[in-house]
Symmetry: C2
Subunit: 255 residues, 2 copies
Amino acid sequence: MTTERPAVVVVDAETPGNVGTIARAMKNFGLSDLKLVNPPELDPGGEAYGFAGHAREDVLPNAETVTFDDVVETHHTVGCTAITGEDSRRHVRFPFKTPAELADDLRTVDTQTALVFGREGRGLDNEELGRLDEVCSIPASADYPVLNLGQAATVLLYELRELTTEETQLPDVERERANEADIERFHGFVADFLDASGYKDVKREKTRRLVRRLVGRAHPTDREIHTLLGVFRRATGQLEHRQTLLDEYDEPDRW
Amino acid sequence: MTTERPAVVVVDAETPGNVGTIARAMKNFGLSDLKLVNPPELDPGGEAYGFAGHAREDVLPNAETVTFDDVVETHHTVGCTAITGEDSRRHVRFPFKTPAELADDLRTVDTQTALVFGREGRGLDNEELGRLDEVCSIPASADYPVLNLGQAATVLLYELRELTTEETQLPDVERERANEADIERFHGFVADFLDASGYKDVKREKTRRLVRRLVGRAHPTDREIHTLLGVFRRATGQLEHRQTLLDEYDEPDRW
């Protein structure tokens, strides 16, 4: 996104805890601009701060109280609702985007976007949605599609994470796959191990293919493949050593 | 998924509210099997039921108290944690899957899976993770990747929704795009409208292309395109009518 990160707007929140939950999700996914329309009191010793995690240090105390008009006049607005229109006969809640579609779309747009969430009990009303530019809805079970306010915001911010977080906590996994040469060495060790275990040709080949499929699916790390190399080398060595000792017992005439 | 829907396991939850939040997310995304290891007391008048939404009617009262051993012995287990290993030198938390990768993977597996979440303060410990089959971690801001327990469960269940919800509340949008013939008719009306407005050829063509691009990106619904057809037809008619009247005034000799 070539633009500022989205603001999050909460209209008429009733429960301070939900504001805290949203602030936490914002910090988890790299956002900081929280705007509140007609907020409940946010006591630093109360639930909002209790639910905010580390966002109690910045996102929550920096939240700005605004009017709905302010937001509509200065932002590209996306209204979030569980309840969409069924078709285009009424267009207050139709068409809509899913969070994944919204993420794809915002990627190419240079604007100041505001993600607008409504009150806990009944969300955004039709008059409010009618003034917003787009509608976004989270696909959920037809039996019970209404997420809690804080949970809905968390899901939406999670979906937008690639636009809003420069770096995640997760290491780059690509580099961590074992290289193919080591994996092939491993398969050679498996063959030696099966030989040493006394497998006959046909069964040995079947078993090797099975192991190749299993390991192929698991994409082993360097560490894993080297540990397994050691396991099979040791086992093969022990099998051969013990067989040698047994063979000596079996040939007493050699003594 | 050719298998049972995943169970959700919460180990040593401290806050009843989080258990309620997880139950609600389960119902939102089509899950029902909640298992609790060493749960807090879940008073039907308390926070767990308060946070559960409609899941207070089924998921929460049907939750089963189990031991960690029970779960490990009977399920393919996925441990959820914000803190992964950096690389394969220690494999308690490495490799890991993201929720999207886990969803892709479980799609092809026929097994009884359990999604295991740890306590609020410190998640699952290394001894517990060491006994689970896979690790899953939600990508989040490197500055603050630790989601609240209930929010983390919500994100993971959201990502698995295609495996767990047969039908969402969202209507099928494909059928709701206006057909191409109507959109072309609309572009014809725009041309007539520009003519009637007195646009000259070059500017008229540029403006028509601009409108074509704008409408092409917006994928209008039937309702939208028919409304716009009406708007332009009316405007063109009015422009022409008024011009006719004006022309009559300009030619007094005709009278």
